[in-house]
């Protein structure tokens, strides 16, 4: 009888002694951040995760730039498109879920990049690979900040993973600081990244991509000398070239062609890696959301005009620019979304040379005409464009036609300070200057509850 008591307590003691390990249960089916980030494969997977964020870009960019600008317009909202309608019609609400989602996606992307940049110096694999990974992460981080800065202006600069309590102490930095931060990342990236990749690495950020993005960041700050410097360097490498037609650039069977500098990648046959046929419609009466002003901006001989028309595919009408034969398996399309391409480089070169000093029929003319003649349009000469202003406007107009629905137009309008004018003219909507920026999501402002540190953009209070 005493025996059993002793046995009983013995059991208790045995269990006690193994308590420590009994309660330490590590997840078996998912890796955890404490033990991850050691091998180069770990960093490579983490980096893939940074790229994965960009798959969310299309929806954000098309809503916040396509509809915002004079490229797309919505006649009237349905229950599900109210937020899009509000963006389109400049009825700006800080609670707009599209804007809220965009803010979230960009900072999510930044967090993923920070996990890499903050740790990679302590990693133990080869320096060259470490540098490349760092370069890729910094390019992607810069890409997120590039949109953040232009959409919202002043913004928190987050350079490493932070806890919620720390996050509440980091306010909105001045937008010039944000641009400085982007420039530093892109300079590092352009130093660390290779000119090209082979095999399964194709599609990663290259030195060219970093330079092209850096150019855009300099350009929007009107740092023309720097723009010219980087552009010359980029063009001199001769990595990229114009394809014979713009349509060819978007051919879903010729992805990552010589004109593409950086694109978001899709594959329609891979579950979760395709997308719906972008901007397709089933209606032939009121067929499109394409703005009338955009359609009428093309001359009849402009072969790019066909790209914003529709072609019937099954029960739907696909936009020619983003046309792709749907996968029979996933019912998805798989076009890449091109963010940077060589035509952009040429038009930026035309723009910057003109800003540095108009030169009749100079290099700027050659660059501009390279894009024009591909579209089947006659070349400009100093007769058509006799001065800096007319040349500047011609470049702006060419950008509109060349990059229709490529999420450039709105940023160009803001950059060139012409949004108010063009939206008034083309969309017949009167907007205010403060609407060059979007409101900060109200849900974020509520979280900080500290207007001094993290306040709303002017005009949206």
């Amino acid at each position: 009888m005493k025996h059993s008591i002793i046995k009983g307590f013995f059991l208790i003691v045995v269990f006690n002694s193994c308590n420590k390990s009994f309660l330490d249960i590590a997840p078996q089916s998912s890796a955890n951040a404490e033990t991850f980030y050691t091998t180069s494969a770990d960093y490579s997977a983490a980096l893939t995760g940074c790229y994965a964020t960009t798959k969310d870009y299309f929806n954000i960019l098309i809503e916040m730039m396509g509809y915002r600008s004079d490229e797309l317009s919505l006649i009237s909202p349905t229950a599900g498109t109210q937020d899009r309608y509000d963006i389109d019609k400049f009825v700006d609400k800080p609670a707009n879920t599209i804007i809220t989602n965009a803010w979230t996606v960009f900072y999510r992307g930044i967090e993923r990049c920070n996990e890499i940049t903050s740790r990679i110096n302590n990693a133990t694999f080869s320096d060259s690979l470490k540098k490349r990974y760092e370069g890729e992460a910094k390019f992607l981080r810069a890409l997120n900040y590039y949109y953040i800065a232009q959409f919202w202006g002043n913004a928190p600069i987050i350079a490493e993973p932070i806890s919620p309590s720390v996050a509440l102490t980091i306010g909105r930095a001045d937008v010039t600081q944000v641009y400085n931060f982007i420039e530093q990342d892109l300079i590092t990236a352009s130093q660390y990244l290779p000119v090209s990749y082979t095999g399964s690495d194709v599609g990663r950020a290259t030195n060219g991509a970093a330079q092209a993005l850096l150019t855009k960041v300099y350009l929007l700050q009107k740092k023309y000398t720097l723009v010219n410097e980087v552009l010359n360097n980029l063009i001199a490498k001769n990595t990229y070239q114009l394809l014979p037609t713009t349509a060819a650039v978007f051919d879903a069977n010729n992805k990552l062609n010589k004109e593409v500098i950086y694109a978001i990648r899709y594959n329609k046959e891979s579950a979760g890696n395709g997308h719906g046929l972008w901007l397709s419609t089933t209606d032939t009466v009121s067929a499109t959301g394409i703005s009338k002003s955009l359609i009428s901006a093309y001359s009849n001989t402009d072969n790019r005009r066909n790209l914003i028309r529709f072609t019937k595919q099954g029960n739907v009408f696909a936009l020619n620019k983003f046309n792709d034969v749907l996968s029979t398996t996933t019912r998805n399309a798989g076009n890449d979304y091109i963010l940077l391409r060589y035509a952009d480089v040429l038009l930026m070169q035309a723009e910057v040379l003109n800003e540095l000093g108009y030169a009749a029929n100079g290099v700027a003319f050659q660059s501009l005409n390279a894009v024009r003649s591909r579209a089947g349009l006659p070349a400009y000469t100093s007769t058509n464009l006799p001065d800096q202003l007319s040349f500047r406007n011609a470049v702006y107009q060419e950008r509109r036609l060349e990059f229709a629905l490529e999420s450039q137009r709105w940023l160009d309008m803001v950059r060139t300070n012409t949004a108010k004018l063009q939206i008034g003219l083309n969309e017949l909507i009167t907007i205010q200057d403060y609407q060059n920026l979007f409101p900060i999501p109200s849900s974020e402002i509520q979280k900080y509850n500290n207007p001094g540190l993290f306040g709303q953009n002017q005009g949206y209070n």
Binding site: I5, G8, N19, F22, L23, D24, A26, S29, S30, A31, N32, A33, A46, T48, G49, C50, Y51, A52, I75, P77, T78, A79, Q82, K93, A95, T104, Y107, R108, E115, P161, I162, S163, P164, A167, L168, G199, S200, D201, L256, R265, N267, S270, G272, N273, L277, T282, D283, V285, S286, G314, N315, V316, T329, T330, R331, G334, E444, K447, Y448, N449
Partner: protein, 1078 residues
């Protein structure tokens, strides 16, 4: 059950005829009678023996003999041997003997004759009273006499839930215990209800009570639901306050349900068969427009959309002059508008709802002797669904065995079950192929089938192709229900072995090993014959897709306890010390496949794999428990307990927690002063205070986990490359949610417990809420699990029971009511309100200090702009025009703004809930009715976004004909103007979509007849009962949807409760049943 309430009949001399009794006892009685009666007096007498059902003799039973004719009356009580006697009774006929005691059901035997020189002999078995103060109440890790209980515990006896035609005990206990809310938010066959004890204390860490079955704590209510046949339940105890629940420590804060299954009783083999069969039908159909009314609405909507956007337009303008598709009316609607008779006019609700059969059979065998007791049962349950192609079947077995050998006791409980479920997707929006929502919204102008017998899919975008009339695509719900295969197969085993050894006198060592094993498999197949939703795929064959998922779960618990009980004079001490450890493991995987060559073989193996997934989840819990109870003279009771829990779920720096409690009771009526107040049979005051916890969060939430995020890389089209990204922030300090609860209570009984009353007041504060707090997006995440904030739940509970005999009628009435208020008292560092959306992006819920969790935070519709003058007069949106909703200008700035003019407009927590039960017994007839209800809460009926939107793109409820049509035809003043392009934010979620959910439900009515014993004994059976039972027969409510208890998202997220966006409706059931005992 033997109903032994019979007695010997009077006979001549000393020879007794004994109808029903234990022979040994009779022999004993005979000897005693000879001894005692012989000495005293022979003749003109009555003697007897009173025992309980377990054949133990009962002292202190009041015995009265009366003769109504002669007004003779005499009273005595039974002695220590259970004996009583009356001598010198007057000779005559018409004597009645009655037996009563507080703890037993009173009995009466009539029609006795007293003859000279003869002795009447009675042997009486007393049945325990329904409200028995010496009843044993199961408490955590032990049991207590009801008398001594000082916490707040509700008890439901197994007999109280028998005969209800429900699939689980959970639904059967609705309305039975104050403070316990049983929410049937969904009528899917084979799903458990939601159980809430004393409100919602936690915001995000789960509010389900812990369910303990025969001492085995279950992680999930669904397992209890699956394995427990309600016929096997002996009792359910609900531990409501912290003092009662604290012995379950970190899992006690939502209350605890202790389920005890039946054990064998000493006696010969008893065989019992219970069965019912009957039909179910949906409780309600919503009155929708027919095809003609719908066509008129649709045309009106398109016309108004045209007129609003066209200067100088006229409703008479032909469609081909209108620039946009949505301004035009589909050509197929014109015959309806012209009133052509005999056109397709489908009532889609009639097509998806069906009358459904249900049946339930239980056979049990029980019995035993002093050393071995057994209870074995088998159950078959089948419930067809009231939606076509859905249903549930369950087979279960139970073996409970208890063996005693001197100081050693051991036993086993073992209960395996198998269930199969055919599912249909009823709880979802039309866009996710929700069948109920689709049936309501689908145009009645489409037929279910084409003339060739195939399904008609015109609703899937016929009106979007070519000309986009902007009628939303809806898949034929009959096709969705019938074509998609979605089957679940489930195996559950719950069991326990235990041993108990009396180490010293009064000190027991008990060890048990319990566990649950469960495994389920789901096979889903979507055939090519069902198109993908959307005009792009209209009637095209789809690529078939299939999914198979499977999981394996085991959970074991080892418990060791030492129990000590001793009595020293008037002091009684009870002590419990224990150590337990528990571990849970779930391993699940899923495979999906596409590209099936045809629809003949639906197993995933027939297609090409398109995805795999899986996870392993574990948690562990180690606990030490201690409880001391002290009782002085049956008057003063004190209990103190503590439990220390360590859990794997919490942060490395915060794994352990202590959960102490103390409670006391004073049995006032046992004080000398009150002893003479005979009508007061019980008066007890109780008070308790304690701390419980909540550990219901994910298993690894303190650790930053990685999740897959793939991306395409590589030449050409590239290939998917696995990426890994962080999924949450790390929180090493993540710890328990703590619930501090005070409870004060009063139990009173009058007139021998004929009237009893139970009152409780409680005040519970939940601190360190495990909250998914919104965090700045700059962290990379939107929310993080943190311990912040607090919530107070306080309320009162009252329960009254009466027990009366009126002639041959026995009437028992119980009524209970509970009122609970829920208030958030703090939230994180800045008390920043948590605003969330659910269902749609503009259906806002606010959780803020001073309000109930998840209050509805919306625009407040105050009327209609009946005229253009109204629009000018009142604050309005820029897009508002006459016929639109008029909203309250909450901030009073003279303008309407969708964000600035929101306010709290409702909550899901009822002001009070109540239940009532009345049972009337007359001879063999029993009638029982149970009511329950909730008052003072609201539902966000998002279905109205579609079926009351007056846009003409979905079918609408029939009251839509009372819509605003013009300044002179203003309709019912509630409904707006038809318009496909609704203006003025009519479609935005507002109080238009919020409805009062208050209801009273006739939960159950049961009419039964028990055959008289005489007939039974001739048939060789001990008891036979027939009954008719109806469940959910009627609900009184103003709620316009199917079910006012609906809660589509709230069971998973307390922050977004009370949404109706399509749900499997409840069914009413009528069954015929029988209960036979041998």
């Amino acid at each position: 059950m033997k109903r032994v309430n019979k007695m010997t009949k009077r006979v001549k001399g000393k020879k007794y005829i004994i109808t029903v009794c234990n022979r040994i006892a009779c022999l004993l009685l005979a000897i005693m009678c000879i001894a005692s009666v012989g000495k005293a007096q022979s003749g003109n007498a009555a003697i007897g023996l009173v025992k309980n059902e377990a054949d133990t003799v009962l002292p202190s039973i009041n015995v009265t003999v009366k003769n109504n004719k002669t007004k003779f009356s005499a009273t005595t009580t039974t002695d220590e041997k259970g004996m009583f006697k009356f001598i010198k009774l007057p000779i005559g006929t018409g004597f009645t003997f009655s037996f009563s005691n507080v703890n037993y059901q009173s009995q009466e035997f009539t029609g006795y004759q007293v003859k000279e020189g003869e002795t009447i002999t009675l042997i009486v078995k007393m049945k325990e009273a329904v409200d028995n103060l010496s009843d044993v109440v199961v408490v955590g890790y032990g049991s207590q006499q009801k008398n001594a209980v000082s916490g707040a515990i509700g008890t439901i006896k197994g007999d109280d839930i028998l005969g209800q035609p429900v699939t689980g005990f959970d639904k059967a206990i609705a309305g039975k215990v104050a403070g316990v809310q049983i929410l049937q938010s969904n009528g899917t066959p084979g799903t458990s209800a939601t159980i809430r004890i004393r409100g919602t204390g936690s915001i995000t860490a789960g509010n389900d009570p812990l369910v303990v079955v025969d001492g085995v704590p279950l992680d999930r209510l669904s397992i209890a639901f699956e394995t427990i046949n309600q016929n096997d339940i002996a009792s359910i105890e609900v531990l409501k306050d912290a003092a009662a629940a604290a012995i379950y420590g970190s899992r006690g804060s939502n209350g605890v349900l202790l389920i005890t299954t039946k054990q064998g009783e000493v006696g010969k083999l008893k065989i019992s068969y219970n069965a019912f069969a009957g039909y179910q039908a949906v409780t309600k159909k919503i009155s929708m427009m027919d095809a003609y009314q719908y066509a008129a609405l649709s045309k009106d909507g398109h016309d108004n959309a045209y007129l609003d956007l066209t200067l100088g337009g006229s409703a008479a303008d032909p469609d081909n002059t209108r620039p946009q598709g949505f301004m035009r009316t589909p050509i197929e609607l014109y015959p309806y508008l012209q009133g052509v008779q005999g056109l397709t006019n489908t009532n889609w609700q009639d097509e998806i709802f069906t009358k459904a059969f249900t049946t339930n059979h239980t056979l049990s065998l029980s019995g035993g002797n002093q050393n071995v007791k057994y209870f074995v049962s088998g159950n078959y349950l089948s419930q067809e669904g009231v939606i076509i192609n859905s249903g549930y079947k369950r087979y279960s077995l139970r073996t409970n065995l208890d063996i005693k050998s001197n100081k050693f006791k051991f036993g086993i409980n073992f209960s395996p079950s198998i269930s199969t479920r055919k599912r249909v997707n009823a709880d979802d929006t039309y866009s996710n192929l929700g069948i109920v929502a689709s049936a309501l919204q689908m145009s009645p102008t489409w037929s279910v089938y084409n003339p060739d017998g195939t399904y008609n899919f015109n609703g899937n975008g016929y009106w979007r192709i070519g000309t986009d009339y902007q009628h939303n695509e809806i898949l034929n719900p009959v096709a969705v229900a019938n074509l998609i295969k979605d089957d679940i197969f489930n195996i559950n085993v719950i069991g326990k072995i235990y041993g108990d050894y009396e180490v010293f006198k009064k000190l027991h060592y008990n060890v048990s090993l319990g566990g649950v094993f469960s495994s389920s498999r789901n096979d889903f197949y979507r055939p090519s014959t069902l198109p993908i939703l959307g005009a792009a795929n209209y009637i095209s064959a789809s690529n078939p897709s299939a999914r198979s998922s499977s999981n394996l779960n085991y959970n074991w618990v080892i418990e060791q306890t030492l129990n000590y009980k001793n009595k020293y004079k008037r002091h009684t001490f009870t002590g419990l010390a224990g150590f337990t450890s528990q571990r849970d493991y779930i391993n699940s995987y899923n495979v999906s496949a596409t590209n099936f060559p045809n629809d003949l073989i639906t197993a995933v193996s027939a297609g090409q794999p398109s995805g795999v997934g899986g996870s392993i989840n574990e948690w562990s819990l180690v606990s030490y428990l201690l409880r001391l109870q002290y009782d002085y003279a049956g008057k003063y009771f004190v209990t103190a307990s503590t439990r220390t829990d360590g859990s794997s779920r919490f942060g490395a720096d915060n794994k352990w927690g202590n959960f102490p409690s103390v409670s006391a009771a004073w049995k006032v009526n046992n004080e000398k002063l009150l002893r003479n107040i005979t009508f007061l049979s019980n008066l007890k005051l109780r008070a308790s205070y304690g701390l419980t916890g909540n550990f219901n969060i994910g298993n690894y939430e303190s650790i930053s986990l990685l999740t897959n995020a793939n991306y395409i890389l590589g030449n050409g089209n590239g290939a998917s490359t696995i990426g890994l990204v962080t999924n949450n922030v790390t929180n090493k300090n993540l710890g328990w949610e703590k619930n501090y609860m005070f409870n004060a209570g009063l139990d009173a009984g009058f007139w021998g417990q004929k009237l009893t009353l139970e009152l409780n007041y409680y005040h519970g504060t939940t601190k360190d809420l495990l909250l998914n707090t919104p965090i700045p997006a700059t962290t990379g995440f939107l929310t993080a699990r943190q311990n912040v904030g607090s919530v107070v739940n306080k309320g009162i509970e009252a329960s009254v029971t009466t027990n009366h005999n009126i002639g041959n009628f026995h009437v028992k009435v119980n009524a209970n009511i509970s009122a609970n208020t829920n208030e958030v008292t703090s939230l994180g560092p800045n008390n920043t309100p948590i605003i969330q959306t659910a269902g749609t992006s503009n259906t806002y819920f606010i959780t803020q200090v001073g309000s109930a969790i998840g209050s509805y935070y919306l625009l407040n519709k105050v009327g209609i702009y009946n005229t253009a003058a109204d629009v000018a007069k009142y604050p309005a949106f820029t897009s508002s025009i006459a016929g639109d909703f008029r909203f309250e200008d909450v901030n009073g700035d003279g303008m309407l703004d969708v964000d600035k003019d929101r306010k709290i407009v409702g909550k899901y927590f009822p002001d009070y809930t109540f239940g009532g039960n009345i049972s009337i017994n007359y001879k063999g007839f029993d009638v029982t009715a149970t009511f329950q209800g909730s008052q003072g809460y609201q539902i966000v009926n998002l279905q109205k976004r579609y079926i009351s939107n007056l846009e003409g793109n979905f079918n609408n409820t029939v009251d839509g004909i009372k819509r605003w049509r013009s300044e002179t035809e203003q309709g019912n003043g509630i409904l707006n103007r038809a318009n496909r392009k609704s203006t003025g934010n009519n479609g935005r979620t507002s109080t238009y979509h919020v409805e009062d959910g208050s209801y009273v439900r006739l939960q159950n009515i049961n009419v039964s007849y028990t055959l008289p014993l005489k007939i039974c004994s001739k048939l060789g059976i001990s008891n036979l009962k027939f009954y008719v039972s109806g469940q959910n027969l009627y609900t009184w409510t103003n709620y316009s949807g199917y079910n006012p208890e609906v809660n589509l998202y709230g069971n998973n997220d307390a922050l977004t409760p009370g949404v109706d966006y399509g749900a499997y409706p409840l069914s009413k059931t009528i069954v015929f049943g029988t209960n036979i005992n041998f």
